[in-house]
Subunit: 476 residues, 2 copies
């Protein structure tokens, strides 16, 4: 509790780890690369799930659950897919004390097993579109892991759909990209760029991968969600076919899209400060903490009762509230405790406040303090939470905009990258040139933005003609 | 759709499979022993999760997430535990293309990995009680599987707690047993017996296992939830220790408890009939279906609009409603479709109903039909759903009570078992005698009920003295 948080300016990576551990969001586990999501962190995930699940269902999708294990042979049916994922797989070779005839892969993603089922369920155009989603754990063997951002096992949702036409599939992929972007901006207070990935960076097996990209406080990019137009690649590999209105058999057109517990890492990295975690109110597991302040036993009884009364009013308005009435801890200790954990709004109530029919409020984001009348307290709290939500978004957007610029000199680009930021630069469109840039600078094309105006220029590195600028950055 | 459901009387096991597949609750997957939970089945699981999660949190527990993989060595630390679970484990031997130095077991249950973390987090009596829960998938290599009831992979929640005293741990185990019983009876409409398991039947590594047991329509028992008093067995194996108020180090006392997707199987088996699934309204994914009936296009427009209006009113009252306005399907086809899937209440609305300001309702459980006025429709629907919920419980309880009896003759017991039922019989308390009964009759002691009066008698099989009757049955 009394551990010190490394300041961002000193060591950004260590600052992040300090927050995760000290705020008890996560912990390292005895299994290499796997983390434990502690209750404070899991509470954020539950809010993320709730907000996303609502949006996924509102767009017509239904939840289902498919097996954790995938026959190794399935993975091999789509050539690019197996090349991308086979090196990252965990493989079950024994079950029930016996060597398995065919090894089972622990799902790194579920296209193959799900489309094997789709192939059984889809027969006619009347069965389309098939719009499914699954909340699940997946495993990708990672060499270098980082709490929340990159772990061997992680939790996610993966949507999988099948459509009668490519046009419809493409529209679905774009619709879900917009759902993700709306979720990021509205709930996570995180402005994002949206667009298509380069072929080098697309999902293994997709025709096209769309993504949303956010900027962290160190200026690095973080991919916050992807949506894939799979074309008919998997339909051909898994025989997902339907009879159209004329009775002809056709391959279905598919999409998949997902976001994961990495979003928790994005929230922490985007909003927090040197005093601890800062969480947007809409996703904070605890939105308001009330700290009763007292000296005598009589005072304690009165202020704790008042605190509980206020908590009851706030809870009735669907807010998540904790009354920290622990005895034997000072108010200062409690302030620090909840500040570290990122609770957006603190209310303090002492005998004098009670007499004055008010509470004292402290915002986590700006540290601003203000007295709030107990008359209409629910509205006062709501307004403040909305202000905090908005401020976090504005702050993140300002940071991003200030650190996004056009660049045309490769030499300048190389040095500018060290300070972080998004760089809009011309690119010739050649994957080899892109790879060279990555090798030389560790920067990748994060996204080719939708609706970027075509403005011709010369490639940042090779001077070949370019039709539009793309966004380069180093990334998590 | 037009497939025939095998009647219960003809082949109960096949009837159950027919329901699962035809109502599209589940499907077989290409992975041996693993099932796919289709949207209709997963919708029930989401309702179960919601109802249980609320109860788990209301009793002070918080959710967290622990790794899927467990180092093989961990499992071995608790002797009984490894004997019970090692033969059922799936083992990961390769990761990222390399042979692992230490094999990883896919969790069959998470005591070992969770308590390794508890040992890190628990230092002082102030850290206790530690009250956690996890929603997760687990894998147990099963030889003979059955949709929902016994599958290699299944979904569940597992609660894990640590306490300062054995008394407190024991009280926790019993509290969660009561939570499960309340959930089963209130939400699942499933009367249950609650009590302790015999030592033969307890969880591998527990001191005592408590369970709730329900009766299916064929008279067999189904274990619907278990709660384990783990004593300090795992605390000693994983070094979960705390300093008490006097500064002395003590081992913590622990509990674990869980229910799984097998509950979906219990719901189907307990309530359904030869026409399809019957679901209690509180857990039905779709609670009300509205079927518009029309001939002309004008009629269609009016009744569909009315159906949507009614659906809107019901949804505003938090009910899950589908309007089946599919064109090209007859009303009869739709009735059958939703009857098969177990929707508790159907509303039919045609032009004449609309003119009379009413709808026609049909209960799934009793098939009773009645006209309902559109004035106060929400209340009329609510009342009917409550009646259905109550009727399902009463019906299941009647069935159970009629088929529960005391028995003292072992010969009679052997033949009576074939007709199914719960048998209250005297038992000497010897595990070997219990095993012989199991071998000779396939019946096991389901539960030693709490608060069974001590009435002395002679053991059903060996005539040795017995202190109380216990409940025998064949089971799933």
């Amino acid at each position: 509790m009394a551990e010190k948080i490394t300041p961002r300016s000193e060591d950004y990576a260590q600052w992040y780890v300090d927050l995760c551990l000290q705020a008890e969001l996560a912990d390292y586990s005895p299994v290499k690369g796997c983390m434990v999501i502690r209750p404070n962190g899991y509470g954020i995930w539950e809010k993320i799930q709730k907000g996303l699940d609502r949006r996924i269902k509102a767009t017509g999708h239904v939840n289902a659950y498919f097996p954790l294990f995938i026959p190794e042979e399935f993975l091999k049916r789509e050539k690019e897919h197996v090349e991308g994922f086979a090196p990252e797989c965990a493989v079950v070779t024994h079950g029930g004390g016996k060597l398995l005839e065919q090894p089972l892969v622990v799902r790194p993603t579920s296209e193959t097993i799900i489309y094997a089922m789709f192939s059984k369920w889809v027969k006619s155009y009347r069965d389309l579109p098939l719009l499914m989603n699954q909340w699940a754990n997946v495993v990708r063997w990672e060499m270098r892991t980082r709490l929340f951002l990159r772990t061997t096992e992680f939790l996610w949702q993966e949507g999988h759909t099948a459509h009668a036409t490519h046009e419809e599939g493409e529209a679905e992929a774009l619709k879900m990209l917009d759902v993700y972007a709306d979720f990021a901006e509205t709930e996570m207070a995180l402005p994002v760029l949206r667009g298509v990935k380069s072929q080098n960076e697309k999902f293994a097996g997709a025709l096209r991968t769309y993504a949303i990209e956010a900027m962290m406080q160190d200026g690095k990019a973080l991919q916050a969600g992807t949506s894939h137009d799979l074309g008919d690649n998997f339909a051909r590999a898994f025989d997902v076919k339907f009879q159209d209105e004329k009775g002809e058999w056709r391959y279905a057109w598919q999409t998949s899209w997902g976001v994961s517990t990495r979003l928790i890492g994005a929230l922490i990295m985007a909003h927090s400060d040197d005093d601890g975690v800062v969480m947007p109110p809409r996703l904070a597991a605890v939105q308001v903490v009330i700290v009763p302040i007292y000296k005598t036993e009589d005072q304690r009884r009165d202020v704790v009762a008042a605190a509980e009364r206020i908590a009851g009013q706030l809870r009735a308005a669907d807010l998540d509230v904790v009354v920290d009435a622990r005895e034997g801890q000072t108010p200062g200790f409690k302030y620090h405790h909840w500040e570290l954990r990122g609770v957006p709004l603190r209310l303090e109530i002492g005998p004098r406040d009670l007499a004055a029919n008010q509470v004292f409020s402290a915002r986590r984001d700006t540290k601003e303090k203000a007295a709030l009348s107990l008359d209409g307290i629910v509205d006062h709290v709501r307004v403040r939470l909305d202000l905090i939500q908005k401020n976090l978004y504005d702050r993140a957007k300002l940071l991003r905009d200030e650190r996004t610029r056009e660049i045309d000199s490769y030499e300048e680009f190389k040095t500018a990258l060290d300070a972080g930021g998004f760089f809009r630069a011309h690119w010739c469109g050649d994957g080899k040139c892109e790879s060279t840039i990555k090798e030389e600078t560790k920067a990748t094309i994060r996204v080719i933005e939708r609706d970027t105006p075509a403005v011709s220029g010369k490639c940042l590195r090779c001077d070949n003609p370019s039709e539009r600028r793309v966004v380069f950055a180093r990334s998590y």
